[in-house]
Symmetry: C2
Subunit: 420 residues, 2 copies
């Protein structure tokens, strides 16, 4: 797209009311806009990142048999009374509102009830199971404090998958598949090397739940990592008994700050019981369905990438989720430069490469370079009088210090390489 047409512009000043790095950079670069503390709108560049993350998650969920749906945000009080989670005394982060003709509704803050209640209509026999349902959804949590930018929102965009299995064995097989799918997701969005499968408290059913924790000083959690085994223990269960049961040694464990980017739970019959979610087995006997829950916040994931991969000049997007693959900069007002830049822009587009073309004529080279570093697109390609004199275009990765001048064929080879 033409940068002259993109309505957002970078800001020189950091926002006065943000203390988190992710919000500061994303607002300055024009990816998000703050509505209220913990409530952000996603601008065109930010939405492009969210959609790439969404597509990666969708592919991984579909690959393990997930069926996507779109459940309502407004939630029926009666459904939540069944599970015992309507009361504000037990759940302290509800947003609730009133129907004009009487009655209260809640805004989704999680989705077990919605999925279990829908599946109640469709599960009868063992032949109907297993089922895996998921949705992408705006989720609302009435937090008292919201200072972490898009890492912890009052409103945030979320994927939740729920598994419905006949028995623990069938559940466990899927749980391991989901665990692998989550590892794939974090690897694909570019933070696999910083993300640890972390053992955390499991609630009433299983011994542990599993968190995916990404190392960052901005994290709210403390975890103990074993760098060789690539697993970690959350502080909340960091006791000798747990360390031993995982065959780890205290001396190999290093304390780190981290942020939880995903969480998977075995729920057992905790929700199938109140919803009377039963199936008839081969002998005609009724059995309760075994459930699992697998959540991931897309904004939080995006914010974590910014927290962990940026430098002092701005954001560094991994290629997989960058808003564009190439930032094409045309420098100066030389007619030939403008002609060559525009022609290269059209050429790259024709090869299905996503290009943000900085065609703005009233900015200096320095301003364009600073903008490009702040926005953080993986490849910067510069067209200038100098680059043309040297026979081509200057290409530089966002993470590299020095660029090199290459011709159009070489450029295409780099930009179309398989990792792309």
């Amino acid at each position: 797209m033409l940068q002259s047409k993109l309505f957002t512009k970078t800001k020189k000043e950091s926002p006065a009311d943000e203390v988190s790095l992710n919000a500061e950079l994303l607002i300055k670069a024009g990816f998000i806009s703050k509505e209220l503390a913990g409530i952000y709108s996603y601008l065109p560049l930010g939405l492009r990142v969210i959609k790439k993350i969404e597509n990666i998650i969708r592919e991984e969920m579909d690959a393990i048999g997930g069926q996507e749906m779109k459940t309502s945000i407004l939630q029926n009080k009666e459904i939540w009374e069944k599970s015992g989670r309507w009361s504000d005394e037990l759940v302290d982060n509800w947003f609730k509102t009133k129907l004009k003709n009487g009655g209260e509704v809640g805004l989704s803050w999680t989705n077990e009830e919605a999925h279990a209640n829908i599946l109640k209509q469709y599960i009868n026999s063992y032949k109907d199971l297993p089922i895996y349902t998921y949705d992408f959804k705006d989720i609302f949590r009435n937090e008292t404090r919201s200072k972490s930018g898009i890492l912890r929102g009052r409103e945030f965009y979320w994927k939740a998958l729920y598994s419905f299995s006949k028995n623990e064995e069938e559940h466990n097989i899927f749980y391991e598949k989901a665990k692998q799918a989550y590892k794939n997701i974090f690897a694909r969005v570019g933070i696999g090397h910083l993300t640890y499968l972390t053992f955390a408290s499991g609630g009433t059913f299983a011994k542990f739940s599993h968190e995916f924790q990404t190392l960052t000083g901005a994290g709210e959690d403390t975890i103990y990592i074993d760098e060789n085994k690539n697993i970690a223990i959350n502080k909340e269960v960091y006791i000798d008994e747990v360390i031993e049961s995982l065959e780890l040694k205290r001396e190999n464990l290093i304390e780190k700050k981290a942020i939880e980017v995903g969480n998977i739970f075995s729920l057992g019959t905790k929700y199938s019981n109140p919803f009377d979610l039963k199936y008839k087995n081969e002998n005609g006997e009724d059995n309760l369905v075994i459930m699992g829950s697998y959540g991931i916040g897309l904004g939080r994931l995006m914010g974590t990438v910014v927290e962990t991969l940026s430098d002092d000049k701005g954001i560094i997007w991994p290629e997989s989720i960058a808003p564009f693959s190439v930032h094409l900069l045309s420098l100066g007002k030389d007619e030939n430069v403008i002609k060559e830049s525009s022609s290269l822009y059209e050429y790259l587009k024709s090869k299905n490469i996503e290009v943000l073309y900085d065609d703005r004529e009233d900015l200096s080279a320095g301003e364009k370079f600073a903008d490009s570093d702040l926005i953080g697109i993986p490849y910067r390609v510069v067209v200038s009088k100098r680059s043309l004199d040297f026979g081509g275009f200057e290409i530089k990765k966002r993470i590299e210090k020095e660029g090199k001048i290459i011709n159009k064929d070489e450029l295409l080879t780099i930009l179309l390489k398989p990792s792309h």
Copy 2:
């Protein structure tokens, strides 16, 4: 996808608490699930339709220069006080809720304020304009009555685009482009032949607003159509003066019931004024931005298709928005039939044709035919002992009475034809 894996099943009984045809059919066929009156969840088949509609709308919005973003659902009271639309006395369909640490927020019921407030950060000079922003968003309206299924929801999925132009001339040029984009959308989703550009009351700024009204007995509006000129007048402005100004004649106008599937408005400075949305022109003078608003409800559009195109056996989806292109039915338990069906399924998938494969073994042919008619996928392909004996597969369009038996090559030619 394998129908044996699709978790939804068709229902024989109509829901007791629905009076609208769209809700009845969509619930029976497993496209949606009711949460509360006017609040529905979209199940996998329903979400597939919504996404196809969304993609068509996105293509049309992008083609006229729209930039997509994702604004928050929770809305800042201060922003709406600026435009004078916070008060429940003036706006009677707000859902509002409270922040735990004090203060009230509203749930989006329209989006002028959100877009104008964001653009206030970025519009300074005439060089920044025009800008066209849009989003797809869940919208909330606290309706007292909700009996029309997904035609009128308390929560519904919506696209809104806003235009920001330098002056009326620039605005009018875009307004005409948007009008054409809307016509394209209704044609592409399959109701173009039933949809009339309708002159309606324009509010404070323009003489008229333009509605797109689709003829259906289920419609809440009364319009007067000129079938030859393909335009209509809403009852609210059906007076001699208007009829004459449009160069129509009362004797050529026929009264019809219709539903409004889209609405476009010239807003003038109604919202740019309270947000002080100004730009400096070439002479350095401040001018207010001219706005326009262009809305369309995706659920309403889907419901309108169901209301207008179904028959007594079920839904009839246009090819462009059908959940799948082909419903492949395997009849009987004959081993060769199952083998040929499965092989055809894999073959069609390899050609990127979207197939729902009814591989369920415990259903009769009659049950499968009834399900297929209810769900309404455009092409039904039957594999049976009889079809194989006659050298192939029986293909029938949902709208046709009789099928014909053809071989695999002929089948592919039909399914890959350009209209697909």
